[in-house]
Symmetry: C2
Subunit: 376 residues, 2 copies
Amino acid sequence: MSHDARFGLGRTITLAGPLPLDSGAVLAPVDIAYETYGALDDDGGNAILICHALTMDQHVASRHPRTGKPGWWLQVVGPGKPIDTNRYFVVCANVLGSCMGSSGPASLAPDGAPHAMRFPVITIRDMVRVQAMLLDHLGIATLRTVIGGSMGGMQALSWAATYPSRVRSAIVIASTARHTAQNIAFHEVGRQAIMADPRWLGGEYYASGDVPSAGLAVARMAAHITYLSEAGLTEKFGRRLQARPDSPHGAKSFGFDADFQVESYLRHQGISFVDRFDANSYLYITRAMDYFDLAEEHGGKLAQAFRGSATRFCIVSFDTDWLYPTAESRSIVRALNAGGAAASFVELSSPFGHDAFLLDSPELNRVIDGFLKAIP
Amino acid sequence: MSHDARFGLGRTITLAGPLPLDSGAVLAPVDIAYETYGALDDDGGNAILICHALTMDQHVASRHPRTGKPGWWLQVVGPGKPIDTNRYFVVCANVLGSCMGSSGPASLAPDGAPHAMRFPVITIRDMVRVQAMLLDHLGIATLRTVIGGSMGGMQALSWAATYPSRVRSAIVIASTARHTAQNIAFHEVGRQAIMADPRWLGGEYYASGDVPSAGLAVARMAAHITYLSEAGLTEKFGRRLQARPDSPHGAKSFGFDADFQVESYLRHQGISFVDRFDANSYLYITRAMDYFDLAEEHGGKLAQAFRGSATRFCIVSFDTDWLYPTAESRSIVRALNAGGAAASFVELSSPFGHDAFLLDSPELNRVIDGFLKAIP
């Protein structure tokens, strides 16, 4: 079936909708950009949905069209990898609200102009609803697993809570069941940086020939610090100075250039992000993450979200992740246990903080591989 | 002697200089705004210098002229308080580079225009050198103690290393002997936010009738998160929503207003900061903190900074401070021990993170009081 026109890289489907959103608004039609890898079994039982993080996209194992970089999870997804595309049919879709082909603030509204801030505020559950509609389109009734790290883990949790009968297993990596005050605070700094940029123009910058790049870069820089551990930053950069033409080991400039390597690195992270991401999408997706509180959707009791669930869960945290620390994963596990759901949990050791889930990790690979093979 | 014209609140002295700076530049003249409390003993032996943090000032126990708020360390400084102004002669000076009366980018250069970015980049040691010149002016040869929290602690350390014979004791609270990569990274986000604000105008905004308020507010918001603990934020705000006229317990707006109380709080922190602080001063002082590495000034060995020191040290950390965590204080204590200096160390428990040193803390009061009374 792999030459089915619905399957492959670089696909976009327009779903007629209507898609009712948590806000009460309705979206129709809805574009969803996605990729598939491998072949769907005749019984449809080998499908895996990968949910991506805040600034990632559907190019999980294919070259990114704007940056030219290889897929963001190549070490996990591919032939012979833990998510083995020789065995599994893998789907990854750009989330609703993003900017890589799915409907979002940068996409065109029926009147032919970008939605901009007319785009409705969405939630993690809204993203999941769109993915469910995509799976319907692809003929996938039930997922062998839904997997994701960070915001991808939120979607995996939301999938299991919203469509329990469609999810045989869920792998939730470096994630949380709700955004804390500190999580919200960091996102709010980023949003304020974007909205303070005069080129943001209330979100109507698409026709201006310019974008709020300075604000978006600052937002990315602030967020990026939360993705790394203090120890990892110290190991990678410490207080080392930037080499300069007249000073191969660097020297303090007694000015405001990037003297320290970590400054230069952060500035690069900010600037390069602007080339590949839409500022309004950043506003909408961070808002969706801040709104995420799975317990709140279930009467304030997280266990209630998983009551009697037949889904098998695998929860993974990293010991140096201070964005979504292990304690958040433990509280998910406690809720799964209280709800009577099957849950395994592992805390992996890594010096790299939250970003560890995107990096080469033999331990993470082993956990995913072992868990997937044990699914009946 | 307390009616000496040099003593009292609201004093400013212009020192002729020249003041040689670590950068190699020379500053002359140098204004220094300061306050004194209490009376200087005839033998000058009861003087205490309080060093303030990044955005604080000389108004340690007097009303702030711009905000109208009471002094920032009233619970520690005053009659009958641990730094007892009935016993001690207390000096607190606005640091070099700041904006409350001491020379800084906002103060006027000899040509009558603000220095702006012509002001030389300064270091923590430069701040201390100016304070030493002020003490000369006040007739204080030796300090009973030099005390400070956060950047104030850096100055206290620098005092002990630079003028060991003038410092009988030093109290270093919630501080560090060097800025880490993560510390630098957060400051760099703030600086980029300021410099990205088009109203910054390369620092030449003083005559424009406007200031880079949006950038400075974002800088303050990002920094403010680092002053609070995750647990403290959760306790204070959690995910509670802002009350609205039509919704006393708050409701999600499905928009980009401040839905969460923590968003509203952060926005307020950013906006109110702009009214009392100069953006260029923020650039210069954060740079001085990032440059701070006391070991580097002593051949890479922190112990060398205190070798044979007769100064008695009291190092205090807070268990939830993730900006300058207890590990940083411990490494100072190890260096003091290795250098043969007398050091006591205490880690205090507080839910409030780095900001704990500014809050009412009976334990901190007891530590300061006990240590000060034990100084011969």
